[in-house]
């Protein structure tokens, strides 16, 4: 290694540090969401999600303060078996646990010469002991089940159903997946909203894009310039008249109303993208097709649609993510009658009826499909964006 190479490597270090640090900042919040959604409710309430790393290795504060006498598995002192649920249930929180630790046992301080654990540590010990009693594991899928069926009780869906103490809206059979308060139903609703609201605009935009790119008519340029302007009109500007109209004709709360609204609103950007793409197709192609006697309709069906697949893919991903992630339109036109996932989550956040563990599981469920679409079709997404993403 000569000095030059070492210097170059050293110069690279700050770049790597900054890039990796940024990646870390970008990933950690989402990671916290994922980890939390997999933890038992008690653990989520009493300790941060990052503590899963400690407890896995050493049992955290338990190993530090208790394991010496009680043993790593808690069974070392038979009179105080820490795996006994009845014993543990007497000390649900740090306060009770600390009170016990301050008392003397057989005339000796409980902790001997060692210092008492801090309140934070005591809370973690209490959680640790309870987890051992509850599931034996620090990870669980219960939160996802609770989120899917819309369970809002104090325990978990599975525990409640086993004990027969479930809330009135839970039936403890397969029909729970369609509970209107659950994310399972919301997932289906989101799909029912999103698929047509993605397909219809693409179809209409392909028609219009073909006309703008390959047909001659008066006002073509002006109309298209108007379209470019319409791309940035805010949603808020059009909501009120449409929701008043929908209320009159009974389209409020229907899928049809939302499909039509998303179609209308997604149109300017979709046409813009389509026309720009179709305009780049080679002219000879069309000329030879027309020479062979093809009509515009044949050319459109057999030439344009297959060739426009990259643009259709870009547009499809854009529109899909836009509709799937939309809250405002769903809030105004669907509301609680046919809740979609974003609505359901925003409801859980603002009313805070359920704990973090269910909320995080619900949020992760709603992110699942967009993530899959995004990571498998990222290339098309980026292209669509580069081709003019002024829509937000």
């Amino acid at each position: 290694m000569n000095r030059d190479r070492i210097n170059r490597l050293l110069n690279q270090v700050p770049v790597h540090v900054i890039v990796l640090l940024t990646i870390l900042i970008w990933i950690v919040p989402t990671l916290g969401l994922l980890v939390t959604s997999l933890r038992p409710p008690e653990a989520v309430r009493t300790s941060g999600w990052w503590t899963v790393i400690n407890t896995q290795n050493a049992g955290g504060p338990y190993a530090q303060h208790c394991a010496a006498c009680h043993g790593a598995d808690g069974r070392a002192i038979p009179q105080a078996d820490l795996t006994n649920p009845e014993l543990i249930a007497k000390y649900p929180r740090s306060l009770q646990l600390l009170a016990l630790l301050r008392k003397e046992i057989n005339g000796q301080p409980h902790m001997g010469d060692n210092p008492l654990p801090s309140p934070q540590e005591a809370a973690e010990i209490a959680t640790f002991l309870r987890q051992g009693e509850q599931t034996g594991s620090q990870f669980t899928f219960d939160n996802y089940i609770d989120a899917l069926v819309g369970y809002r009780g104090q325990s978990t869906y599975r525990a409640d159903c086993a004990a027969g103490t479930q809330p009135p809206d839970i039936k403890c059979n397969l029909s729970d997946i369609l509970n209107p308060r659950g994310m399972g139903r919301a997932f289906i609703n989101s799909l029912l909203v999103t698929l047509p609201a993605t397909f219809i605009p693409i179809l209409f935009a392909a028609f219009a894009g073909y006309a703008f790119a390959w047909l001659d008519f008066k006002g073509r340029f002006l109309l298209f310039a108007l379209l470019v302007g319409l791309q940035v009109v805010p949603l808020q500007m059009t909501l009120v008249p449409i929701s008043r109209f929908y209320a009159q004709v009974g389209l409020n709360g229907t899928f049809l109303g939302v499909w039509l609204f998303h179609t209308g609103f997604g149109m300017p950007y979709a046409i813009y993208l389509m026309r720009n793409f179709l305009g780049t197709l080679p002219r000879d192609l069309f000329e030879s097709a027309y020479l062979d006697g093809a009509s515009h309709w044949t050319a459109f069906r057999q030439l344009v649609i297959p060739l426009a697949m990259p643009a259709i893919a870009s547009l499809g991903i854009f529109q899909f993510l836009w509709v799937w992630n939309d809250l405002l339109v769903a809030l105004v036109f669907l509301g609680g009658t046919t809740p979609v996932m974003t609505y359901q989550i925003s409801n859980m956040v603002t009313s805070l009826g359920s704990g973090w563990q269910v909320l995080t599981a619900a949020a992760f469920l709603s992110m699942l499909l967009p993530m899959i679409v995004f990571f498998s079709l990222q290339r098309y997404f980026v292209r669509g964006m580069l081709a003019g993403a002024v829509k937000g």
Binding site: I23, P29, F204, V240
Partner: protein, 343 residues
């Protein structure tokens, strides 16, 4: 930014900033093709129908409704109260523009302005646009020099796929304000670990607005990065190499060569971001609901319309929002005309 060629080329080399002379865009149907006078309009019909009904007509109607009362049945002038200032048919605008302000003294006005939805929207525009563009640009430049470039970019870009609602939940959890002993929110846990006092990030003014803006930056930086990275790839290597050979530092190369070349793209990204910020509603709605002086114009429109059920005031706020966006509509059309002219 949007030349039609971008989409047809491999994603690695889209040329965004540097205008090339593309092959002549076909301006009309080839002459040999017969075309009835109605044919184009048949193709346009579905699109034009939905657009006029869902965008054009509602815009006009919104303007009309903004001069009406709370259910659109009478003029806004009828809602005026005696002994109170009144702007006649512009009464809703008087409410929308002045209700949040305390005009008892210049100092009170200044304070109330910066805690109003207008002041907050201005904070959003400046901090978020500056944040997203600088993070995006910096990351585009730096990620270009590491081997794991595509992975790094995918991670920064990922929040674009998540809904604002999902992002709101993610960050609300990071900002969680627990009890004195027990912090389950990451940010407060870090602060208490270093011996600090936990902060109620989302209900303490004025930092709460900035905490929500951070979430916005987290979401949108990937967008800016992707577009700016594509522009940077189009900067000719020879120029950069020549400058380096002449002894220019990386810092100089960045500020004196890269930035000026991609300046048109930066302008486009900035205007796009300003529009996005003006429309942004979901984040504020989910994270604070506009409480604790975090309201923005877009959320205020929702509050007036769907919580207070006041059609006149809600639409007036919407019109103010669109007035703020009109310069950008003009800018967009102008840019489009220029692009067409270079074809």
């Amino acid at each position: 930014m949007a030349t039609p060629q971008d989409i047809s080329k491999p994603a690695t080399t889209p040329e965004v900033a540097v205008r090339r002379k593309p092959s002549k865009m076909p301006s009309a149907t080839p002459q040999i093709m017969k075309q009835g006078p109605l044919t184009p309009w048949l193709y346009l019909l579905p699109a034009l129908l939905v657009m006029s009904f869902f965008i054009v007509y509602p815009m006009i109607n919104t303007v009309a409704l903004s001069f009406g009362n709370r259910d659109g049945t009478a003029s806004a002038a009828t809602t005026c109260q005696e002994d109170r200032p009144c702007w006649g048919v512009f009464e809703n605008y008087r409410y929308a523009l002045t209700a949040e302000f305390n005009t008892s003294s210049p100092q009170a006005f200044w304070n109330s302005f910066w805690s109003s939805s207008y002041g907050n929207t201005i904070k959003w525009i400046f901090v978020m646009v500056f944040g997203t563009v600088s993070v995006g640009l910096a990351f585009a430049v730096l990620a270009d020099r590491v081997k794991y470039e595509s992975l790094a970019k995918a991670i920064i870009f990922m929040p674009m796929a998540i809904s604002f609602v999902g992002a709101g939940v993610i960050w609300k959890f990071v900002y969680d304000y627990g009890t004195q002993q027990n912090q389950i929110g990451l940010l407060n846990a870090i602060i208490t670990a270093f011996g600090g006092e936990p902060v109620a990030w989302l209900s303490t003014t004025p930092i709460n607005t900035f905490m929500i803006i951070v979430v916005g930056i987290w979401i949108w930086s990937g967008f800016c990065m992707t577009i700016l990275a594509a522009a940077l790839k189009s900067v000719p290597d020879e120029i950069l190499e020549a400058a380096r050979v002449d002894g220019a530092t990386e810092w100089t190369v960045f500020w004196r060569i890269m930035v000026p070349i991609i300046l048109p793209t930066i302008t486009v990204v900035v205007t796009t971001m300003v529009i996005n910020v003006l429309k942004l509603f979901d984040l504020v709605y989910v994270m604070t609901g506009g409480n604790f002086q975090t309201d923005v114009i877009a959320n205020r429109m929702y509050t007036e319309m769907y919580k207070n059920f006041n059609v006149g005031r809600g639409t007036a706020v919407a019109v103010i929002l669109v007035l703020a966006i009109i310069p950008f509509i003009y800018f967009n059309i102008k840019r489009f005309m220029e692009q067409e002219a270079t074809r």
